[in-house]
Amino acid sequence: MFDIFFKILKTPKNTIPILGNDPDQADIVAVGEKIEAKVKRLFRGSLAVRQIDAGSDNACEQELVALSNSFYDIERFGIHFVASPRHADMLLVTGPVARNMGEALRRAYEATPEPKIVVAVGDDAIDGGIFKDSYAVLGGVNSVIPVHYQIPGDPPTPKTILVSLLKILEAVDTAPVTSY
């Protein structure tokens, strides 16, 4: 057991710094009605995210999983993934809503307590992407539940997602610049 600990202590820190001002990283499109500042301020300290796979091709899932590795380390901003929509503040929906996932998605939306933010991640979730107009797909997430933000990209890089999330909460410039 002790060799593991030595190995851990020896490996260098590799968490990337998130700087407030690099413009190309944040790629966010606000849709639907606006989220009040009070709600954003509430979630700035701690945000519970529930990821819903509405028929996605797992491209966006890989990126979202990468968010919690030591490189991007989403936890340092107080954002953590939760198991049940009841505990969630934000719903990250990926994938063009497949026909039989529509009802489940709507139920998840119902089960999430107010105030909540819905973010469609990836082109499929935004408007169906490459699967647009197919008989098995209901199109974008907004055809089932109201969407507040969209993160384009097929799939968007983890950094884009991370910075976009901070941008949604307008936490980028206030969040401590984690360079160490």
Partner: protein, 683 residues
């Protein structure tokens, strides 16, 4: 004033009330309603008078012994001796009988057209009168007569609902087992008579030195088996989970709340009072029996999904806990540590009182649930809390009390039993200490498993969604049922809060035993409510716990509700289960809940599992149409002890059958041979 109440005449009035009630309900048996009113009125009057009489004796503290008239037979004298211990038991009997009779007024209504209410009233009164006589009789034969009245009356009450086949079978099993037990008791009394020359307990007590020790040990074993069958300790318990559920609910509450205590009462009277200078191994045997009964009782309760059988198994568990107290009292008294013996006796008495209260509460609330649901199978309940909120609340209080959760009375008697076991671990050495350590371990595990079992019972019955259509038209139980349950729930809380004064009062009762006359007391009550054992070794206060608890709840609610969270709204949604539609088959059932523990203890419980898969067509066996899983638990005692016994008895009976050859001459030759043998034997 006390002398008038605590006098032989008032005891006769008590018996008279019950006998009039019995006779009256027989006379009025044609009209159900009036029979019910008559029997309930006299039952309530009788139990109220019993409460008055018992508390008068308890307060005045002087024992009462008298002979009720001359007896036709030489050995039988209708002698009664009511000391503090029997007064306490009369108090318990009449207390529980009072609430069961109140409950009975409403409950018996659903028997109206089906059975004869008069006979129910008759046997009900006989049953209570029998129990009162059992705890007061001080002559062996008179005691056996009372014991027989009690057993036979309770047999007829068990088979009262005779349309159901297995009720009658259960009643038969109960009758056979009780009478096997009575046979052992008679053997013990005969041995006592042989060596002390009389059946009177007082005379036996004074002449106990004449009994050689080997005979005394056989008497101990015989009475342990005899009263053990009635108390339902483990090897002899198989009638209890069969008989108690069969009886109507207020009768099974009375039976398992009070009747099995008469067995414990006689054990206390015999071992601690009459056969007093007892060897050490007696106490250790009682302790061992108590530990196994409590542990196995709760394990078998976990496998049950019939609500009344579950409660019956819990009676066995609680009797085990009482025997733990009694066993440690016996061991300490034989080792001369009288203060410790007094402490554990008080623990046993306190748990007897508590168990009577919360067990009858549980049986009554289970009865009103069965009354609405017409089945005892917990798998068909579910969601009853929305239809029967008050019954659910009382069942919750009962289950909290029985799983020894602090503000209620169950905790304080179990706490006292723990203290007596801890004192045993400190004071004793070598083998006795190991029995105490194992007993304390058994008690600890029993507490945990009892909690699990009652979460299962309450959860499967009252919470989540209805698992059968019957639930939707269940109505809340009527007023007398709720009144009885409410009073018992309040009592169980009161006995918890004022456990300090109650324990000290029980100690004065303990001191009425001849051996504890001079024993210094380990219990003290500083500041009026803090019950301390042995100058600071351990102390607890029910009152303080409840006050601190309620204050904490109010602070928390006030802070959360008003200070932080004024504007948040509550939205009623559907239960979250990953988006699929939720059917009532997906929630956990009683068997599912306990399955993990049953598998963990599979060595003891021997669970069996059977898969049956039905295919669309038998040859291809690819497309299973339906799959049924049958989960069962083999009853070890039945399989390894009672069935072989039954086989042996059956073969013996078969052999003796061919004596019946049908030829008169052979019969007369038997007579002739018998005559010769007798002649030879006697001359």
């Amino acid at each position: 004033m006390l002398e008038i109440i605590a006098s032989p005449i008032s005891f006769f009035i008590l018996l008279e009330l019950f006998l009039i009630g019995a006779a009256g309900s027989l006379v009025l048996r044609k009209n159900d309603a009036s029979a019910n009113v008559w029997s309930s009125f006299f039952a309530i009057a009788g139990s109220l008078w019993g409460l008055l009489f018992a508390s008068a004796i308890l307060i005045s503290g002087q024992a009462l012994s008298f002979v009720a008239g001359t007896s036709p037979f030489p050995l039988l004298s209708l002698a009664m001796h009511i000391d503090m211990l029997s007064a306490l038991f009369i108090f318990i009997i009449s207390l529980i009988a009072l609430f069961c009779s109140i409950y009975g007024i409403g409950y018996v209504k659903h028997f109206y057209k089906k059975y004869n209410i008069g006979t129910l009233g008759f046997f009900y009164h006989l049953f209570i009168a029998g129990m009162v006589l059992v705890v007061t009789a001080s002559n062996g034969i008179f005691f056996l007569i009372a014991w027989e009245i009690m057993s036979v009356a309770s047999y007829f009450l068990v088979v009262y609902d005779r349309n159901d086949e297995n009720n009658v079978k259960a009643g038969f099993l109960y009758l056979v087992m009780t009478h096997v037990g009575t046979a052992f008791i008679i053997a013990a009394f005969l041995l006592l008579y042989k060596y002390t020359g009389s059946f009177d307990f007082e005379v036996i007590k004074s002449a106990v030195t004449f009994i050689p020790s080997s005979i005394k040990n056989t008497i101990f074993v015989l009475s342990m088996v005899g009263f053990g069958v009635k108390a339902g300790i483990i090897p002899f318990h198989i009638w209890l989970p069969a008989a108690h559920p069969a009886a109507p609910s207020h009768i099974s509450a009375l039976m398992s709340g009070v009747m099995i205590k008469t067995g414990v009462f006689m054990m206390m009277r015999l071992f601690l009072d009459i056969l007093q200078p007892a060897p050490v191994w007696w106490g250790l045997v009682v302790l061992f029996v108590g530990a196994t009964s409590s542990l196995l009782g709760v394990l078998y309760a976990l496998t049950e999904h019939d609500i009344k059988r579950l409660l019956a198994y819990h009676s066995i568990e609680n009797i085990g806990i009482i025997l733990l107290g009694l066993g440690s009292a016996l061991t300490f008294s034989s080792l001369g540590m009288l203060p410790l013996a007094l402490l554990s006796l008080v623990a046993a008495l306190f748990h007897t009182v508590n168990h009577a209260i919360f067990k009858s509460l549980l049986f009554l609330s289970a009865g009103s649930v069965i009354n609405q649901m017409h089945t005892r199978n917990m798998e068909e309940y579910g969601g009853l809390i929305k239809y029967m909120p008050h019954t659910a609340f009382f069942f919750l209080i009962g289950s909290m009390a029985i799983s020894a959760l602090p503000p209620f009375n169950g905790f304080f008697s179990e706490w006292l039993t723990f203290q007596s076991l801890f004192q045993g671990i400190i004071a004793l050495d070598s083998s006795a200490r190991w029995v105490f350590i194992l007993a304390a371990g058994a008690l600890a595990f029993t507490g945990g498993l009892a909690l699990t079992c009652f979460v299962k019972a309450f959860g499967a019955t009252f919470l989540a969604r209805p698992r059968s259509a019957e639930v939707s038209h269940a109505k809340e139980s009527s007023f007398p049922l709720l009144a009885a349950m409410g009073a018992l729930a309040a009592l169980s809380l009161l006995f918890g809060l004022f456990s300090g004064p109650v324990t000290l009062f029980l100690e004065t009762i303990g001191k009425s035993f001849s051996i504890f006359q001079s024993a210094p007391s380990l219990l003290s009550l500083p500041r009026g409510h803090v019950l301390t054992v042995g100058s600071g070794f351990a102390s607890v206060s029910g009152l303080a716990f409840l006050v601190l608890f309620t204050v904490a709840i109010f602070i928390v609610v006030w802070i959360i509700r008003s200070a932080i969270n004024k504007k948040q709204k509550i939205k009623i949604g559907a239960t979250w289960d990953c988006g699929t539609d939720l059917t009532s088959r997906m929630e956990i059932t009683a068997t599912g809940f306990a399955r993990s523990i049953v598998l963990i203890f599979k060595g003891v419980l021997k669970p069996s599992i059977q898969h049956e898969i039905e295919y669309h067509d038998a040859e291809t066996r690819y497309m299973p149409k339906s799959r049924t899983v049958i989960l069962g638990v083999r009853d070890v005692h039945q399989a390894y002890f009672y069935r072989p016994l039954h086989k042996v008895v059956a073969t013996l009976a078969e052999q003796t059958k061919n004596i019946q050859s049908g030829n008169i001459n052979t019969y007369i030759s038997y007579i002739f041979i018998a005559l010769l043998i007798v002649l030879f034997a006697t001359l």
